[in-house]
């Protein structure tokens, strides 16, 4: 049953590859491998945190880790993704900016993968492009398609930004968080969703370039 998720992952990987091809500037060597490695590590970490939050002990139920559909902690996955990418590229300074547009495009692919998973729909809508689930009278927003489209546009915007340290990486985090935040109201939810983390993502993304240029930041000029 997780094979549909595998198709969504492959869609994300394909778009990451395309992103690295169309925005190759300053991309580190083996960038696709590193992106995929960071993505898989992030999924596992996010799954572990979600299991612990749900009261499931990963040590007594290690097989549950692969049940991605059981829930993944977005915040933990995002932090581990950034940390793994920084570690594998050996440079937290430049690599994050270089792969930022491709990362946003890959995430657009993951959301577009809802087509394979049959899970594109959100809240009820009467708009002409709203879809209905089989057997349902209620038509719904194709919220995951909205998200994928907004992220694809966001990836292009991020790729157009200049090379001020962490400007692209910060913008990517802000775009991803803002798109999720704006579309969250169209997603029926039981737990309420990690709204606070999305707000934090927008704020951190916007201040990242300022932090990079702070006197104690990684982009601070060495005294002459």
């Amino acid at each position: 049953m997780e094979f549909t998720l595998l198709w969504a992952v492959l869609t994300a990987a394909a778009l990451a590859w395309i992103g690295l091809r169309i925005w190759p500037e300053r991309v580190p060597a083996h960038a696709l491998d590193r992106l995929l490695g960071a993505g898989i590590t992030a999924l596992v970490a996010g799954r572990l945190v979600a299991m612990i939050a749900q009261g499931v002990n990963p040590l007594t139920a290690p097989g549950d880790i692969i049940v991605i559909r059981g829930g993944v902690s977005t915040a933990a996955a995002a932090l581990v993704f950034i940390a793994t990418l920084a570690w594998t590229t050996r440079s937290v300074r430049d690599a994050l900016d270089a792969v930022a547009p491709a990362t946003v495009l890959a995430l657009a692919g993951w959301h577009a993968g809802c087509v394979w998973r049959g899970a594109c729909l959100g809240s009820v809508s009467d708009l002409p492009w709203a879809w209905a689930l089989p057997g349902s009278q209620a038509t719904r927003h194709p919220v995951e398609i909205y998200t994928a489209t907004a992220l694809a546009i966001g990836a292009w915007v991020v790729s157009r930004l200049g090379w001020r340290l962490w400007a692209r990486a910060g913008a990517a985090l802000a775009v991803i968080s803002a798109v999720r935040l704006l579309t969250e109201t169209l997603r029926p939810s039981i737990t309420g969703g990690p709204i606070a983390w999305y707000i934090a993502g927008v704020v951190i993304g916007l201040i990242a370039p300022l932090v990079a240029r702070a006197p104690w930041g990684p982009g601070a000029r060495a005294p002459t």
């Binding site: 049953m1 097989g63 559909r69 829930g71 899970a119 737990t191």
Partner: protein
């Protein structure tokens, strides 16, 4: 909503906390029923003690009910319209958004 589970089923453990939350959220509008299949009574009791799942459960050792309604593997989640017609079947672990949309559809049919 009828959820087919078993104490030996690893994915069932993953979706149990979500079902518990969903029951707290929708339990006043949607009837939740659990069907424990191909299981031991002791294992089932331990599973329920671990995860709560404070709704009605039935023991179906020979898997008669899911075989009757279709679907494959474990877990399975069936959604029935208020008049009893099977509306939708979800094979495998159900995610939060899919569960919420299906429960929303059931409540809309009941209005």
């Amino acid at each position: 909503m009828v959820n087919v589970w078993a104490s030996w089923c690893m994915p069932c453990r993953s979706e149990a906390p979500l079902l518990d939350r969903a029951h707290a959220e929708y339990g006043d509008r949607v009837e939740f029923i659990g069907i424990d299949v191909q299981d031991s009574q002791a294992g089932a009791k331990q599973f329920l003690a671990e995860f709560g799942l404070d709704f009605t459960h039935f023991f179906d050792r020979d898997r008669v009910i899911p075989n009757h309604y279709g679907g494959f593997g474990t877990p399975i989640t069936f959604f029935f319209a208020p008049h009893g017609e099977l509306m939708r079947t979800h094979n495998g672990v159900i995610d939060e958004q899919t569960l919420a949309i299906n429960l929303d559809d059931v409540t809309r049919l009941g209005e």
